[in-house]
């Protein structure tokens, strides 16, 4: 039931977004570009942060592996 309600909620959001995008794409291309652009900027920068964690973990693992081999 809970999943279903979430599904309905997200479906509604998706419909609203689609309608909004259709209108904005026509009349307010710049506003539309802002929505897309902002989302992209936030996601790319967030991904950059996550990438740093992944990289550091990898480094740590390598060091551990090397230490293990030596030991």
């Amino acid at each position: 039931m809970r999943s279903f309600l979430y599904f309905v909620l997200f479906l509604m959001i998706a419909v609203i977004v689609t309608v909004l995008a259709a209108i904005l794409g026509d009349e307010g291309a710049w506003y539309f570009a802002w929505l897309i652009g902002t989302t992209m900027i936030v996601l790319v920068s967030a991904a950059g942060g996550a990438m740093m964690d992944a990289h550091e973990e990898q480094l740590a693992e390598q060091q551990r592996a090397e230490a293990g081999r030596r030991g």
């Binding site: 307010g28 570009a33 967030a46 950059g48 996550a50």
Partner: protein
Amino acid sequence: MINGTVVDLSRIQFAATALYHFLFVPLTLGLSFLLAAMETVYVTTGRPIYKQMAVFWGKLFMINFALGVATGLTMEFQFGTNWSFYSSFVGDIFGAPLAIEGLMAFFMESTFVGLMVFGWQRLSKGQHLAVTWLVALASNLSALWILVANGFMQDPTGAAFDPVTMRMRLTSFQDLIFSPDAQSKFVHTSIAGYVTGAMFVAGVSAFYMLRKRHMDLAKRSFRIAVLFGVLATIGVVTLGDALGFVDAKAQPTKLAAMEALWHPEPAPMPFNLIAFPSQAQQRNLGAVRVPGVLSLLVTHSLDGTVADISTLEQEAQQKIENGIPAVQALKTLAHNPQDPAALAQFDAHQADLGYGFLVQRYAPHLSQVTPADIEAAAKDSIPPVAGVFWSFRIMVGLGLLMLAFFVLSTLYSLRNKIERKTWVLKVAVWMIPVPFLADEAGWLVAELGRQPWTVYGVLPTWMSASTHSVGYMAFSLIGFVALYSVFIVVEMYLMVRAIRIGPGEQGGSGGGQAQPRPTLAPRAVPAAPYGSKLEG
């Protein structure tokens, strides 16, 4: 009728309070989305360091936000207090976006900002993330509606003058919100805010890295900020260029002033890289020129041309002559709204009504207007060239400087080399004021370049002000300057202090008990106590 000193003082007061307000707003616009980015990583990866980042930058956000809200109060009411003729003249159109801003955006922003700060222990992770996103979205929606209102001042679309009510009347709400100027101005300004936020976070993070403090937090914040910044700066530059394209059509006098283009020139037109414009002599006292670039920049082609100041002045003279009968008809209509002859005369000349108002400054009785009056008013139709020209170059120059910085630091950050490049970090710290200067310069280009109008081509600035006495204006101006000066000192002090103290050991809660007690967190998020991991 209208005292010129009062108008000047009102303008100084508006510019001072608006520029001051605009020191805090861009940081809110950008930092809010940076907070959203950091918290998004926290919620998706579950790493406590990102929560710590969101909390720490959130604290600096709030120091800035308080002054943004406080000075915004002045802005909301200053149209009425100091620009009463303007307010009644265009309130039908201009008031609506301001009210919608409150309804749609500011309420959301202010309600959720309280939850963002106080709700960490009361909301689930997902709920808190949603709250942070809503704060970011709402603060930018707020900017949207303010810039829709401002867009109307730059390029009045969707409205007409109504001789019955003697005011402007809305004719199309869609035209108002989808005006090209409003749209391009909004994206440009909002993204300029992102650049400001990114530079701030990058600079402060660099400050920590230089001192080898809070390295985990600083490295990650720096990475997120520079990626955010490089994309935003590319956006702000390209959108700024597009805005120039829009302005060339809607506000030719602003563009001519931006480029210090006094006389007609054949295509491809050269670009004044550096020039020393003289308004009195109507020429540049020396200029460094790059051939062909102006046509390319503004019309995106080599054979396009841009209107020059002398041509625009001649056009203004014709518009003034055409506008005078419209104002005269209005005087009749004020006493006798049904007078058919006056209505017909108004209809025939109403397109240039604003230019008729413009010459009234020199000839209060329009029946006695002289060619010299018309010429003086036509000269007035050009904004102060040197101010607009240099503000524009400062804005663009600083924008390109930031672009170079963000590209370089993104490169080093992605290669995980940034901690060792101390010179880049030092530059980053010194770059913190740069976006703020660029923002202020941008405001000057837009609003100084709009002169002599409050509503471009429709309502002259000199008519718009309230009929206060010089004494009142001096009193209020001194009051605002004194109050705001105290506030900026306090704000800078607290901001620098909070940065120096750093995350985890803020004096904010007093008694040195900065760390939340686990017992008080009913739905404790799996976060390590602040600071313990970092400082160790």
